[in-house]
Amino acid sequence: MAIIDTTNKVEIKNQTSSSRKLTTAKAIVEGISQQMEADPSVFVLGEDVGAYGGIFSSTTGLLEKFGPKRIIDTPISETAFIGLATGAAVEGMRPIVELMFVDFFGVAMDQIYNHMAKIHYESGGNVKVPTVLMTAVGGGYSDGAQHSQCLWGTFAHLPGMKVVVPSSPYDAKGLIISAIQDDNPVIYMFHKGIMGLPWMVKNPHAIENVPQESYTVPIGKAKVVREGSDLTIVTLSLSVHHCLDVAEEVSKEGIECEVIDLRSLVPLDKTTILNSLAKTGKLIVVDEDYQSFGLSGEIAAIVAETDPRMLKGPMKRVCVPDVPIPYARSLEYAVLPTKERIAEAIRQILL
């Protein structure tokens, strides 16, 4: 555990000799691998996590390294194997269980939210359930209404699980290690578009310097990924990069956006959000999940509860407008929080 990220400011990353560029996928695998070496109770199970290496490369190479007793392919029985993770955790193991796409949660939601999430409370603290439920989120490649959702709002609404959403290789590694070490159930949601997959449009931010050593990034601390004084953009996951790109663009026009990468929804780092808003007075929430009854609302409520006068003008939401994700590219990009929509919101909010 070399580096503990305790800052919520733009991070000064250890560019030690031991760091090299990794994709997010490789950073996750490295984090899992280091925890598996450190702790024999950690194991991975899910569909195609073995020989295939994870449909989104979240487990590539682990089978070769740890063998089929610790990297376990399952039948397509999410209720059974997610429940298995819960039971194994109750008996002291530390399972990482992959739900291939978060969109499939509905076939196993009872195990997730009525069991994994609630047992600790129901037992009055006598039983711990240290599981990591790892899952792929997000759209943008025409996978349609059942394979393109983010749904973090759904999980954040229900009590009992931490909800972690990395946006970069560095955070992805530090957060997966924190998640595995956490004694609580954690849902760890990686966006396909930040994994650096060889078969998907490559986001330049999906690869960066990552220290070789094991390190943690604390769960529950947002990161100010860009400082700015004119407005605050609260976002997470792939959208962080879109926001940063647009922020650079509009910076040329003299507009300085502060961009906050939440990194986790539960716990939610209210302080970082409110501090930024106190400075800028303008708020945009960019969220690839459905708009209503979700993240953007929660941010608004935090502000309204604290002091609505912090908002010097109407808030803007750039989210998926309560529609199943359409297949056709033209339609999908009309509902995703694209750079165009973000830029448009920035211009509107400064009118």
Binding site: A80, A88, E91, G92, Q111, H120, S123, G124
Partner: protein
Amino acid sequence: MESQTRLDLYTQMVLIRSFEEAILQNYHADKKPLWDIGAGLIPGEMHLSAGQEPVAAGICAHLSANDAITAAHRPHHLAIAHGMDLKSLAAEIFGRQDGLGHGRGGHMHLFDPTIHFSCSGIIAEGFPPALGQAFAFKNKGSDAVVVAVAGEGAANQGAFHESLNLASLWKLPVVFVIEDNDWAISVPKEASTSVVSNATRAAAYAMPGQRIENNSVEEIYKAAGIAIHRARSGQGPTLLEIHTLRLWGHFEGDAQGYRPDLEQVPTHDPIPAYEQQLKQEQILDDQLIQQIRQQANEQVTLAIDYAKASPVPDPSSALEYVFC
């Protein structure tokens, strides 16, 4: 079977019944005159297991505290037979601070890590966690086993299928037990289940399956012994279906208007029947019966008194235990 074993089975059943009768009485004591499910010393839904004691006694006779049980919404008989501390159990049912879950869980959510006991109010959803406990036991090299219990209604849930398949595939040390009490609330088995016996379904997972008739504690004891031995010795899971009896309503307050055999039900009570049998075979006599009942009552009284004396949880502590 040895006389002592038979006596133990009987004693276990009496203890369970004694406990549930006390719960029954306390549950209804202060809900009148306007019956309100949420009122009284014991609030909430109450699913009692009277009539199903043979299942718990017969199975748990083969288990130690290292073995696990996952039960369903009707868990008391299994909890008691598996050795749960009656005081902690009673205090949890009364919603008190000294309860197993400090009053957070309630009677459908009993978690006792010291005896690897858990239960769930969601039908059939106790099966998947059982797989994980079995996986962990196997992984540790222990010979502990898990018994996963659910009703015949539960055998039509997806979780049943997924769990049996995975347990068989990975040869996990689990025994799946279906308590067939003929009813799922008001729905009779023939209106829910496309096969006469769930034991038939074992073949769908290449595991042994057996149905035990007549709510016979001794037959249950024998079949469970074989299945548990099989699991313990690494040969994988078994499916048992046990024909048992729901002596009372689905939950307290259930008038059972839908139950055509209602008046006959008490005549099938397994405890007097077993008592009769053991008396005939001179393993029991009236004096011993009295003694066993009295000992059970004493334990139960202590537990109920303990529960009543335990403090009501402090409202200001309601948010404790969401996270570690």
